[in-house]
């Protein structure tokens, strides 16, 4: 810019004349860009952006969906005093304990598949299959699996543990365990695929070299494979945590309805229950905002992790 002001006026004019067609093109490009980007922006702004702002506003009101009365930020304080709110968060916390399991098992499976023995592609398809099946269907089968007369109890009986026969879904913690196991089962395929993709990026000569040096399979995995997979493990960890917080509504809806009591009510399910079963839209909005804040923190942490790697 400063260079062009220093040039004599004549050459500046010449420059401008020479540039005119290009800058018209650039203007055209800019205008087209804006027009093409606008529909996506409008859709997201109108249906996600504005509602999240509304949620923040309504979280500080008493609202039945029609009439709202302003209360103020004290609604948050009230909610923090609500023992059910903490019970619900405890469920979320307990579910998070299943996340490492949903990482470790797929890591093992991916390592197995990576051996590429006969039929590995077929097995890969089978393991990945639950990704295509809805939580509704999975939950429906799972509910039978954990029932009093269900498969799990039959299995336990067949190994001599018939005396523990119980309806897993009728105890608060056993029901949550059943939800967690189902969750892990359905995450196995997705995470396996992510790790398999990661393994494929590793140069096989590294493994060969380590083998020649006499390293055992476990040592190779721990010292060579795992560090190289870090990025993929991080990614699937975050994805699994996000799923644990936001993807289980349908599973819980079908499997337990949030019960017994609040035994399997997670925050996302509590949002639905509060708003659409109890009609407390304001409180529901507040819980949704809390969920959003948790997700935003996780997202920010992930960004930071990714940055620190570079």
């Amino acid at each position: 810019m400063s260079a062009s002001t220093a040039t004599p006026i004549t050459s500046r004019l010449a420059l401008r004349r020479r540039r005119r067609p290009r800058s018209a093109l650039a203007r055209n490009r800019g205008r087209t860009g804006l027009v093409l980007a606008l529909p996506a922006f409008a859709l997201v702004a109108l249906l996600l952006g504005i509602p999240i702002l509304q949620a923040v506003y309504y979280s500080m009101t008493r609202w039945d969906g029609l009439v709202s009365t302003w209360v103020g930020p004290s609604t948050y304080v009230d909610q923090l005093k609500n023992p059910i709110f903490w019970r619900v968060l405890e469920n979320n916390g307990l579910l998070l304990l299943s996340v490492p399991v949903a990482i470790v098992i797929p890591l093992g499976i991916a390592a197995l598949l990576h051996e590429r023995v006969f039929g590995w592609r077929f097995f890969r398809s089978i393991y990945f299959l639950p990704t295509a099946v809805s939580w509704v269907v999975i939950g429906m089968v799972s509910a039978r699996f954990f029932a009093q007369q269900g498969t799990l109890n039959d299995l336990l009986a067949s190994v001599g543990l018939g005396s523990v026969r119980t309806d897993f879904l009728s105890g608060e913690y056993t029901a949550l365990l059943a939800v967690a196991i189902t969750f892990v089962w359905s995450m196995v395929g997705t995470n396996t695929i992510i790790f398999l993709t990661g393994l494929a990026t590793i140069d096989p000569s590294l493994h060969e070299a380590a083998k020649v040096d006499g390293a055992g399979a476990l040592r190779i995995f721990w010292h060579i494979t795992f560090p190289l997979l870090k990025r993929f493990v991080q990614f699937s960890f975050v994805m699994t945590v996000i799923s644990a917080f936001t993807a289980l509504f349908s599973l819980i809806f079908v499997m337990t309805g949030g019960g017994p009591g609040y035994g399997t009510t997670t925050l996302e399910f509590f949002v639905y229950q509060t708003a659409f079963a109890k009609g407390e839209f304001g409180t529901g909005a507040l819980l949704g905002v809390v969920l959003f804040v948790i997700m935003a923190v996780i997202g920010a942490a992930q960004l930071k992790l990714l940055r620190s790697d570079d």
């Binding site: 087209t32 093409l36 089978i126 089968v141 639905y272 909005a285």
Partner: protein
């Protein structure tokens, strides 16, 4: 590549031939290697059983009556006969298809345009607009569902496909835009500039040059979204208030919550609802995987 071709022939003869040629000095180690492979295979079979069991359970149970299911003996077709009266399967499959197709068309339209704009048409405000769209990825469905529900009910769209379609489209757009932008960034700038120099406007370059090249990304978005929308319960449950417009997943969810005790009928319904998404998965698996791992970045 060599590894793949090695693992395809599986008979014991070819396996030993392979190891014999590959490592003549290590002939002694042939047996342990094969033992190891057999062990891996057995383990993989065991895992496959765990993964496939629910499907076996659904199929087996759907071919029983409620009594046969409880006693564990005998099979019959009667539950399949009862399915259509419990669940308007044909209608609901059609609804699922309509909702999926409309939502995906909107997502594809807005995300290809925006992706091209962000990747190839540097315009003022591109970065903040892009970041705003991507930031929406962090918004969980449950956080906006209540205000969105009230807004859409005020527009009287709860009793048509439109409300659900709009919400699905909005929820799918951020990731689709991210994917499309990344894809278009991979196209060389010269390609676009050359077409512009040839006298095509930027709009036409998008439609005639860039879009045809984006087919793999378009398929990826379509497959991801199809499975996501087909399998969704929450949005459909709230935004498709008219029972005649319910999708199959919502119909099934409502049925299971309604204390239906005829489990074989429920299993038949589950199976029917799962088949379309499973078929899409089986055919387009590769695209699904590439969409899934697109977020990892390089």
């Amino acid at each position: 590549m060599a590894r793949v071709t090695v693992s395809v022939p599986a008979g014991p003869a070819s396996a030993s031939a392979e190891s014999a040629t590959a490592r003549l000095p290590g002939l002694r180690r042939r047996r342990p290697v094969r033992m190891h492979r057999v062990l891996v295979l057995l383990l993989m079979l065991a895992i496959a059983l765990v993964m496939i069991y629910p499907f076996y359970f659904m199929i087996d149970t759907s071919f029983r009556t409620q009594d046969q299911f409880q006693s564990g003996h005998g099979h019959s077709l009667s539950s399949w006969g009862k399915l259509t009266s419990a669940l308007p399967v044909g209608q609901q499959l059609t609804n699922s298809m309509i909702v999926c197709v409309l939502s995906i068309l909107i997502i594809l339209a807005v995300s290809t345009m925006a992706g091209f704009a962000f990747a190839k048409l540097r315009f003022t405000g591109a970065t903040p607009i892009f970041l705003a769209i991507i930031a929406a990825l962090l918004i969980p469905m449950q956080s906006i569902i209540i205000p969105a529900y009230v807004n859409i009910s005020k527009l009287n769209l709860l009793t048509s496909y439109a409300g659900a379609v709009l919400v699905y489209a909005a929820l799918g757009t951020p990731f689709a835009t991210f994917l499309m932008t990344a894809y278009f960034r991979g196209l060389p700038d010269e390609l676009i500039e050359a077409a512009v120099v040839d006298g095509l406007g930027y709009g036409r370059v998008f439609a005639r040059v860039a879009l045809p090249l984006a087919v793999p990304a378009i398929v990826t978005v379509t497959v991801l979204q199809f499975i996501q929308i087909w399998d969704d319960l929450l949005v459909g449950l709230l935004f498709l208030q008219n029972p005649d417009e319910r999708t199959i997943t919502v119909g099934l969810g409502a049925l299971s919550a309604g204390r239906v005790t005829d489990i074989p009928v429920l299993m038949a319904g589950s199976l029917v609802s799962a088949i379309p998404a499973v078929l899409v998965y089986l055919v387009f698996q590769r695209y699904l995987i590439s969409g899934l791992t697109a977020g990892i970045g390089k």
